[in-house]
Symmetry: none
Subunit: 143 residues, 4 copies
């Protein structure tokens, strides 16, 4: 059986990047509310949301943050990497129907410690909606 | 008709806390994979997961982080608050069937800036699985 | 295009019955929590549920009640009928993995008023879990 | 770790109320159809629905009734209470996109029997869509 393996720390270089793009749908918001328990009315109550500064329902921030995890866990570095930490700055709302691109770019690599600092940015069009830094432990070829 | 409103910045005090507890199920992991696109085999491939240090499939870190959002968005401060930032340290894996409690505790309050720094900790039994800090903008009664 | 039509009031007779059977799964409970917002820990927190008289997580009562609606809306009388009222007595818990049969039996018919009183019973094995009465407005052939 | 506990019978008073508001979406109707099996064309067939008195697809009555359960199980009385019975009068349809508020108000309390009769009303704007009475067994502080 072919083993699913991602990149090794030796395969990464500064400035290297990968991305994932997904449209956030009403279904995503309903399902995220169910699995997280987060039924904040700004996500599930259209009347309430109208009265907020967002004017309409917005997606859960952690759903958008999940797209960062998708890049890190499936593309770069991919399977085998271990997620150590993530900072998240929520800069703008994601509305239902928005298409979000999560772009992850390698900032610094510490080969001996097998760690990579990765800059993460989620955008809707030209607007940055979430920004932060991930620290990932990446397997080495010299195990 | 009663409006759903959360706490105001004047209602918060240092040390105040709220929590949410949920068992993480196989369904949650499948649905999170679907809505986020994070199909990392450590979450969806039991054979692959056996060969990792976790020995079995683990839940997405952002799903666990979502429980923090549930506390902040539905309990303390609740509806009306705006999520500005979150740091997340992934300290231990959450396995399918684990019951996670997210506990949020007010650390510092800046009433004039309408901001609260909230310490966030997710535990499975006595093990801390995720830890971090949230910054929340909280509505004031003096609008 | 063939029109989907159910039974007419003239097609019903006292004692006539129909049923629907479904196994209640973990997925059903997670999804019901999401669409209803009902994250009562007895449904989503296995640790909490252990400490209750039920000893384990139970399904939402309205999910079980939904199977009654399935019989009435898809089988007897079926499409075209209008649901006027329902009483529900929750007699025993439905646990995840239980297979529920909803049995609906015509009790009385008022042809001139186009209404049927239907006795409804949901069972898991020999245990009645939900019981009640529905009043349905049923179309007549003499429109 | 803080235990999730609801109100005790001694905490309830006549006239006390709590509510939950949610917009009913297409996703909710699709998922409810899937988990309940209620594929009545008035819910899932837009062409059929056009020919009914409702003129468009409507939500399942038991989905709206589920919002009552959300109030009772998560707000008042909340975790620990046991749902004994519910009556439901379906007074008007809920259409996709409608925002429903379920308002529950304590009608009578029998402390010695640990039971509360709760009046339940679901509204869309000023229109009552579902109305009924719940009987709840509520834990007592004097256990």
């Amino acid at each position: 059986m072919s083993r699913q393996v991602g990149l090794y720390i030796e395969d990464l270089s500064e400035g290297q990047s990968a991305s994932f793009t997904k449209t956030v749908t009403e279904t995503d918001v309903v399902l995220f509310a169910g699995i997280s328990g987060d039924t904040n009315p700004v996500h599930v109550d259209a009347e309430f949301a109208k009265g907020t500064i967002f004017k309409e329902r917005i997606a859960h921030g952690m759903l958008t943050a999940g797209f960062i995890s998708t890049v890190l866990g499936t593309k770069m570095p991919g399977p085998g990497a271990i997620y150590l930490s993530q900072t998240l700055n929520f800069k703008a709302p994601v509305k239902i129907g928005d298409t979000v691109t999560a772009l992850c770019t390698v900032a610094t690599i510490k080969v001996e410690k097998r760690r990579a600092l990765i800059h993460c940015q989620c955008k809707v069009g030209d607007t940055v909606v979430v920004e932060g830094e991930a620290v990932i432990m990446v397997p080495s070829r010299k195990t």
